[in-house]
């Protein structure tokens, strides 16, 4: 099996390297890629969309249709992890571990029975980790600032590198950090599975809905200048606002998908004990 793999990899490698013969030199300004489409994007972005970050302008406006499908890909991945892993009814009830908060004594309760809810016993995961106060408090302290930075990244996608995807992932990462530092149950209590799944769909609906709104206002799909009549501004700034709305939609969709995939992967669908 190793030989076949080696032959396949080497033959494709030789084919690809021989095909690089006619490539333009590395990073030379006169290459066809830098002289056909990109001059239009670089020179016209300011006039047509008034967005300084050309990548965000091309991403959400010139090729906004691509990005809508890419958000749909992320949504499909979240849905796929949910449908593959999520288990609603469990066959054999597992036993639970509780820890007495003051003394640190752990109690094992068999066959899915529960301790009456009291605040001096806290439930802990089966893969038991010692109570590490430092990590818990630091993470609880850090998470709001991570989320603040993520909102900045989404909102500031026009002027600096960033945008819907990066901001959405950082927001998702803050909730995942909560799930890793505390335990999955606290993060699921913060971000319910139902809310997470519906927000996932809502994020992509914001994106496709903005496009459909432009369609209903008469112009082609995803033509933000149609929003000028709704946002009461000239078509160029309407495009800039359209890009911002779309980036917010992408941010919400990516955040919820990352949380959804993490919750399903780390607890193999049981939603009780994560990493």
């Amino acid at each position: 099996m190793k030989i076949i793999g080696l032959i396949i990899a080497l033959s494709t490698g030789v084919l690809l390297i021989s095909a690089t013969g006619d490539f333009p030199g590395w990073a030379d300004p006169a290459s066809p890629a830098s002289t056909h489409l990109s001059p239009h994007f670089i020179e016209k972005t300011m006039e047509e969309t008034s967005v300084p970050n050309i990548v965000t302008a091309v991403l959400a406006d010139y090729r906004g249709y691509d990005t809508m499908y890419e958000t749909a890909v992320i949504f499909t991945a979240g849905l796929a992890c949910f449908i593959l892993l999520r288990i609603f009814v469990r066959e054999e009830p597992e036993d639970r571990l509780y820890r007495h908060v003051l003394t640190g004594v752990t109690v094992r309760v068999k066959e899915g029975a529960k301790l009456p809810p009291s605040d001096d016993f806290e439930r802990i995961d089966a893969t038991w980790t010692p109570p590490d106060l430092i990590i818990k408090t630091i993470c609880r302290f850090l998470i709001p600032f991570i989320q603040l930075f993520a909102l900045y990244v989404i909102a500031h996608g026009h002027h600096s590198p960033g945008g819907g995807f990066q901001g959405g992932v950082i927001l998702g990462a803050s909730i995942i950090l909560l799930a890793i530092s505390q335990d999955l149950r606290t993060s699921v209590r913060r971000m319910r599975e139902k809310l997470d799944a519906v927000l996932c769909a809502v994020g992509v609906i914001i994106y496709a809905g903005t496009g459909a709104l432009c369609l209903l206002l008469g112009l082609n799909f995803l033509d933000y200048s149609a929003l000028a009549s709704v946002l009461h501004c000239d078509p160029v700034t309407a495009r800039s606002h359209g890009i911002l709305i779309v980036e917010i939609g992408v941010g919400i969709a990516v955040m919820c998908t990352m949380i959804w995939i993490y919750n399903n992967v780390s607890s193999t669908g049981k939603y009780d004990e994560g990493l």
Binding site: T12, L15, L16, S18, A19, T20, G21, D22, F23, P24, S31, P32, A33, T35, H36, L37, S38, H40, F41, D61, Y62, R63, G64, Y65, D66, M68, Y69, E70, A72, V73, F75, T76, A77, L79, A80, F82, I83, L84, R86, F88, V89, A197, V198, C200, A201, V202, V204, I205, A208, G209, G211, A212, L215, L219, N220, F221, L222, D223, Y224, S225
Partner: protein, 496 residues
């Protein structure tokens, strides 16, 4: 609203897939009606679009209002207008037919399954309608991911075979992406028509040759063309019957459409057939695909797995037909996309009905099935006749074009392969029909001779099957109209 058909046919399913997934958490009963409405609207706009194309010729739809090379544009001409109609009608019929089997096999996850189903159809419609090479890659990924998720919901070995399908599918998609990258670095554009305009002076360059080979190999992996077909039989057999009866008829045919689009539009037939002397070896590969597909199908004792090998052979028909290089071969290939989608849907719906009523679809479970399920067996006979290629059904006409194309092109090996595969199909289907019709029903408690109660599949599964069976014959009878009005204009004049 008819100007917006190209956008509507893709946006309505996408938005409804999202609404279905959200509605799944609020009120489960809403999901199926939304899915049916969405695919109905998509089918309606596809048919409307084809009628518009027949009147006005090719339609360009600019997304975001930007002109084609800058923004993304849809080019809908006769070729993808026809394939769009086939994809949306097949998906619509299959959704209605597989409602009950979805509820039987996936009791608590019907809502996400419907959402994935509609997302898969969105991806397929997008692939067929798009005019942008990179947009086609993103849609390829949506189709692939929702396909993996649906196929992995089957029983026992489904997850492992889907994981292998994922590896091969990702390699195929990455090869296609690499091919588009090679084209981009040499031409600077991503729009298919724009690339076709820039390419002619570059025909001699090694980069374009490398891009063509890599794109082709990537698309071949995705369509399970013979040497790269190992993932298809297991993936389609172990999937739930609703998923395999959607994916089997459509995904391989759409990938063949992508290959034909690459030949006709992006690399122009002048490059594909004349500059490269590559059509002869590819037709020989197609001959090998047909032989191996037929022989491996003979060796199977499981009805569903036998059908997956027939799909591998059918892929050999279409690739060989497209690469014959003459008008009859290309017409046969395009017509075979339409016919094969309908035939495979008919036969997989039959397997869906059998799986719904019996526990398995191995040959020994099918004994004496005609008394229990007469209508399903009737549809199996019609589907079998069409796959064999008996005149009234559509299978005959596309095979006729392929054989006449092979003779014109002097590829007699391809003609022999076509006839051999038809004979093997005769053996395959009559073996199954003989088991179902003549062997007594193997009931456990001795042999009491009172006639078994007719336990036919429910009506919602039978009506679509009946429509498809009748459709097979109608498409066969109206082949002349389809070819003269639609396929004639789909193939550029340069192919004679």
């Amino acid at each position: 609203m008819s100007q917006q058909y190209p956008a509507l046919l893709v946006i309505v399913p996408l938005l409804s897939a999202l609404v279905i997934s959200a509605a799944g958490w609020i009120n489960k009963r809403l999901c199926f009606p939304i899915a049916v409405a969405a695919l109905g609207a998509a089918a309606y706009s596809c048919i409307g679009l084809l009628l518009r194309v027949l009147e006005e010729g090719a339609i360009v739809y600019r997304f975001g209002g930007w002109d084609p090379p800058m923004g993304i544009a849809y080019y809908v001409d006769h070729l993808n207008g026809l394939v769009l109609v086939v994809v949306s009608v097949v998906a619509f019929l299959n959704l209605i037919a597989s409602k009950k089997s979805i509820e039987l096999e996936l009791p608590d996850k019907t809502a996400p399954f419907y959402a994935l189903y509609v997302l898969q159809v969105t991806g397929l419609l997008g692939i067929v309608a798009t005019g942008d090479a990179f947009n086609l890659y993103v849609l390829l990924e949506i189709t692939a991911l929702s396909g993996y998720a649906m196929l992995a919901m089957g029983k026992d070995r489904a997850q492992l075979s889907t994981l292998n399908y994922l590896y091969m599918g990702t390699i195929g998609a990455c090869f296609y992406l690499l091919g588009v990258g090679y084209l981009y670095i040499v031409t600077g554009s991503l729009n298919m028509v724009d690339i076709a305009n820039i390419l002619p002076p570059l025909y001699e360059s090694k980069a374009v040759l490398g891009a063509f080979i890599i794109c082709l190999v990537g698309v071949w992996i995705k369509m399970a063309f013979f040497p790269l077909h190992a993932w298809l039989p297991n993936a389609y057999t172990h999937g739930p019957s609703a998923a395999s009866s959607l994916i089997a008829p459509l995904v391989t045919k759409v990938m063949i459409y992508v290959m034909i689009r690459l030949i006709l539009t992006v690399f122009t037939p002048e490059f594909a057939f004349n500059v490269l002397a590559v059509s002869k070896p590819i037709v020989w590969l197609a001959v090998a695909a047909i032989f191996m597909g037929a022989i491996l199908a003979l060796a199977e004792r499981n009805l569903k797995k036998m059908l997956t090998y027939i799909i591998v052979a059918e892929v050999g028909y279409m690739v060989g037909g497209a690469w014959l290089g003459n008008r009859a071969g290309m017409t046969g290939a395009i017509l075979h996309i339409v016919n094969d989608a309908l035939m495979t849907l008919c036969v997989f719906l039959v397997v869906g009905n059998i799986a719904y009523k019996l526990k398995g679809y191995a040959f020994d479970d099918l004994k004496g099935l005609v008394r229990k399920m007469p209508f399903t067996m009737g549809a199996l006979v019609i589907g079998g006749l069409s796959i064999i290629g008996v005149p009234p059904t559509c299978g005959f006409f596309s095979k006729w074009y392929l054989i006449s194309g092979a003779i014109q092109a002097g590829q007699y090996a391809f003609m022999v392969a076509l006839l051999f595969s038809s004979l093997v199909n005769v053996v395959l289907f009559f073996r199954v029909i003989e088991i179902c019709y003549y062997e007594p029903f193997s009931n456990a408690h001795g042999h009491d001779h009172h006639p078994e109660p007719m336990a036919e599949a429910p009506l919602t599964m039978l009506v679509p099957l009946f429509i498809v069976a009748v459709g097979l014959i109608l498409v066969g009878l109206y082949t002349g109209d389809i070819v003269n009005n639609v396929i004639e204009f789909a193939i550029p004049k340069s192919i004679v």
